[in-house]
Symmetry: C2
Subunit: 412 residues, 2 copies
Amino acid sequence: MSELKGAAIFAQSGGPTAVINASAAGVITEALKADAITHVYGSAHGVRGMLDDVIYDMSKEDARELELLTTTPSSALGSARYKLKNFEDDDTDYVKLLSLFRKYNIRYMFFNGGNDSMDTCSKVSRYLKSVDYECRVFGVPKTIDNDLWGTDHCPGYGSAAKYIVTSCMEIALDAKVYDTGMVIVIEIMGRNAGWLTAASALASYKGLGPDLIYLPELPFDVDKFLGEVDSTYKAHGNVIVAVSEGLRDANGVYVPEMNYTNLAQDSFGHTQLGGAASVLGNLVKQSMKVKVRPIEFSLLQRCAAHCASKTDVDEAFLAGQLAVKHALDGKSGYMVGFERAPGADYVMNTTLLDVNEVANKEKTVPRDWINEAGNGMKQQFIDYALPLIQGESRIATEGGLPRFAKLKKIRA
Amino acid sequence: MSELKGAAIFAQSGGPTAVINASAAGVITEALKADAITHVYGSAHGVRGMLDDVIYDMSKEDARELELLTTTPSSALGSARYKLKNFEDDDTDYVKLLSLFRKYNIRYMFFNGGNDSMDTCSKVSRYLKSVDYECRVFGVPKTIDNDLWGTDHCPGYGSAAKYIVTSCMEIALDAKVYDTGMVIVIEIMGRNAGWLTAASALASYKGLGPDLIYLPELPFDVDKFLGEVDSTYKAHGNVIVAVSEGLRDANGVYVPEMNYTNLAQDSFGHTQLGGAASVLGNLVKQSMKVKVRPIEFSLLQRCAAHCASKTDVDEAFLAGQLAVKHALDGKSGYMVGFERAPGADYVMNTTLLDVNEVANKEKTVPRDWINEAGNGMKQQFIDYALPLIQGESRIATEGGLPRFAKLKKIRA
């Protein structure tokens, strides 16, 4: 393949994770080393920066700060949720993009995100081909949801999972200190895929986790749920339940949207409502008359770099690095994926996946990794997830406080 | 002082912390070494174990597990919230206690907890004296609330503070990834004392924390709050607010109990209600029409051993150890306290405080450590709190998961 000389641009998109900046570090440091790459640019807020010409010169950043990106959570360049139209229908954005690519002579684009980002890669790649503009487009996977098709797992998942497992174990210890009963309902992210909620099973597996786990992959039955919480409470005196934010009934109605006529009312006659944990917690409280505490892991599950998986951080960096290497080798239109080698030991190989395919598919938790009762995980899941949370990534500290990367973000 | 030979009993009381077990390790290992102490017992669920004769023989525990206690959160022996009556009014419990003390020949009692625990120490100590039963009673301080009188700070506070600071910084990074505005309202524990909420200022001090901080020490004015959030939003485009769970207005009404007629209603006409963050979040949403995310640190702020302060862990262990040493030296009726040496360097000396005094006093955040506007902390607080979160305590891990102590709890 002939050498393609020109600038590279990197963008981050979708929800932040604990390791998306590790991929950024992988892309940027590798691109800065490459002779064929004349300039390394960062786009502010995903594709938005490319449309509005808000472009940073990454060569102006301190090497130390780029290194700190490896343990800095969230998206250092900013993120966006912006879906490009089909260029066949409306090419307004694409014309802007092309003009920016020409202005900076961008010949390499690295886009870090989930399904939507791969959709962007796919569209941009096809558009640039259609106008005969030579540019190698590469996807770098990222999502705590772990729902990207074709790859064994996604960078971001292992760290979110490690945070969830660790927190569940600590909560389990806390919940058991009093000799009075309690029901804890923990709400975990994942609208369509239950990978993160399932991760709480790694804590259960150590005897310090949820007694019951409900994923969005199965239709949620409130009466069955209440019965299971009740019988577990009767058996153990306290219950920890993990629920996905995306639980919905057989008709596709999400838990917070279900209209319970018997929802608990406070002293002013106001009905209490909130997310899945809050709604289900209220129902438990009302039907069982016990102490209930709903807990939401909220944003922390996706940005807790202080509890990240070393395996995840290393793989995120590698995915970024390899995207650059493959692009330099002449490849385009791919996302770096992971492929687990067979055998008991964890050996993870990388692979290349067609961004067009990744863009339009979704990977959920297989039914046969969930137990028959639909309220817990089987050993297959434990074997799958456990290697992904191995190793402790240590964030840099300064004076007892985390020291996260501070980019100068100098406009190109 | 003549040597007092007999058994020692240890109990944990009140809310769990990340380091209460470190104090347990300090007491137990020191007591096991002492010649004068014939047996080392643990009481299940605070004073309850002493009343119901649920007593564990700590000498039967593995040394390795006792060591693991140092990095195991929550109360390994179980906790309780049980207030002894005055023995002058009703000595039922005290008679039971005395009979248990005689049965096991208990001559040393170590009680680990907050104000209420010091109250227990005080009452038990005075009762035993009144019936001429020789026993040395010692309090070991513990509370994330940091509200114990007479001591510079309390074990448990530094670790909870470190978790809060770290999480605030990570949330701040996460909150700023999109270029669309958002208001995040973080609810932090502390019903009467704002020490924990104030700790979020350590994150602000690094430019990655709450823009506004409200402590329960000052009467809370909802209109002033809404005005401050609004003007900060207008200036920065997004706002992070830290609020104490204990915020109340000038009449002493807690935020969740305020009857707002204009509270946001959901699509079913249900009024949304919850804790302080949820209620205030709704008010912000309604008055400013912006995206709002309430976050509660909930139980994690008190049990996150994975993010504990090394300084705190070490001091918690020391407090337990010193209680035993002082009791062996003949002292009784004291709590181990901390006294900061003057000067820029952090030098912490220990002191002994009369449990009778500690039992009945409370320490809140001084007004002049809070800024004039009542929505942030001054440098005096930063100087006070920063040394307490220094150093990272590493939890033991096994196969990528936390490895917490597992006590056998063999009945005596």
